[in-house]
Amino acid sequence: MVASAGIPMYDIPFVSIGGGMGSFVTVDYLRVYGVPTSQMRVISNIDHPWQTYEFLTRCSQIPRGERIRSDSSSRPDNLWGFPSYALEEAWKDKNPAYLWQLFTEPLLNDYWTPRAGTVFENLEREAKRINYWDMLVKGQVRMVRRRAGGGYFTVVTPPEGAAPTKRIVFRSRFVHIAVGYPGLKFLPDLQEFRTKYSDYQHVVNAYEPHEQVYEFLKTRPGTVVIRGGGIVASRVLQRLFDDRKKFGLKTQIIHIFRTFVTGSHGPHVWSRRKGGDGWAYQGFNYPKSVWGGQLKAEMRKLEGAERAAKYKQMGGTNTPYRRHWQEQMRAGREGGYYHAVQGTVDRVERTEDGRLVSYVRSSDGIIREPVSDYIIDCTGLEADISEHRVFADLLQNSGAYRNPVGRLEVERHFEVKGTASGDGALYASGSATLGGYFPGVDTFLGLQIAAQEISDDLARRGFVRKMGPLRSTAQWFKWVFNSPV
């Protein structure tokens, strides 16, 4: 049917959709396991795998020289996680202090984390090594459908002028979907403000470019309202504090927490997280043992409501406790220019002189109406998975269904449940699969865990050889010497 419609069709056994970090680590694994480039295609609307990640990190105030959140051995360019980033940076910067920090983290020191630049440079090296760009096909994926004879069709709109037809189709036995965030969502009151006043300049999301805020504050004293208690809020605060110091500014900051954490919290001495001054403190977005220890093992066994409850217990917005940030906030509180309050915002209005007034109700009944020049939404809310066309179509037409937290239900090996087709399989990784047997999905290490599960599943299905200790070691040496897989 497809062929008779004159749409070009390509036969490729394995197709990865997205072309971001999730696709990259998956094809990296498979290349190392021994799949040739001719057997795989990555279909993406971006040119290099870290593009979207770099855009989002830069917006949220992590330029290449700043340090990201994840730890030293979360290395998307190296599936062994060894040598870790700390060893590499210590060697390159001739700085043994990194190793001391690694040794004493998280007790006497903050977690050591790599510079964003280190991550990007290494990704580029690895992408070249595995011939990533030989596998990349540019285009927008429209849908993935099961094929009567087994496997899947992936329908793609290539960039204008890149192909003779408006659509091209890939026929494959395996499909992997890693399209990242289905979309960003604003807090409802902020969305309402933006629509009502068509003002996209003064109420901004930290994940969109918002340099105008910092530029304005350099020209005259101003007030900023921050919403949210996660790491993005920490980053934005750091930028405001840094600028204040660097340029001698008079910026006032009002920080609104919906949930204001005042200290350690949790139901039992065995499940109590640190917190204070509004924040819940945690090194990474989940407790560390989620990526390989006790919590990973426990969650792997849970289904339905029990699983949802466990997610709830260890979830919640949090940020790392970093000594530098703590000092900046302390100085801000003492200097009277950083005010953290608990509250929910009913609505935001524009004042006569064009500023913003937030109507904030706190749980003790106090109503505040802070006036500011800007509001930065740092809550990082994600849209529902059905906002993404490919997922909406999968849910509707291909047997996929939702997990206990509302996202895509996947197997322990990341096959999307309900979508099997003949001898083929459809996999997914990344944020869309949160709520499954493994919680840390939206992180480098989580994407690698998924990639390993997927590669091992593909080995069971005979698509690639299984990876044992000898072959793994041999491949590791190739990585070290930067020679082709």
Partner: protein, 145 residues
């Protein structure tokens, strides 16, 4: 690697049987303060490894219990190294007191040299190189099997 209980025990036994044995074979000829023939030293050294393994199962139960007080259920790198102090002391006093009768008494200098070098080597391997041949190990809480 963030361990589970089974992972802790398996990793300990695996590393003792590999890194521990190799290091013992290399270090025994040069440990200070001993006069016994090398063959006997090897036997003693290997028996010390066995004792570290057997007592270690008890220790791991304690560590696992203590870990429950940590929100993240993690085991910081530093703990992995510093636990050499209580473990070494207990074993040393057991040997001294003759409670472990099948191991010949060893001079303090020899015991501590051997024990520390073995421990540090195992700790170093567990914190990196182990991941090279065993790519699933760190995601399974340190289980080797």
């Amino acid at each position: 690697m963030v361990p589970t209980l089974m992972g802790r025990i398996q990793t300990r036994l695996f590393l003792l049987a590999t890194v521990g044995v190799v290091v013992t074979l290399l270090i025994m000829p040069i440990v200070p303060g001993v006069t016994a023939p090398l063959g006997e030293l090897y036997v003693t050294g290997l028996l010390v490894l066995v004792a570290v393994g057997v007592l270690g199962i008890g220790w791991e139960l304690i560590y696992h219990f203590l870990m429950q007080f940590r929100w993240e259920k993690d085991w910081p790198t530093m703990f992995g190294l510093l636990t050499l102090v209580p473990e070494g002391l207990l074993l040393y006093f057991l040997l001294r007191s003759g409670a472990v009768g099948f191991i010949d008494p060893i001079p303090a200098a020899a015991f501590w040299t051997h024990f520390t070098v073995v421990w540090v080597s195992m700790w170093l391997v567990a914190n990196g190189p182990m991941r090279v041949p065993f790519i699933r190990w760190r995601f399974r809480g340190g289980r080797v099997l």
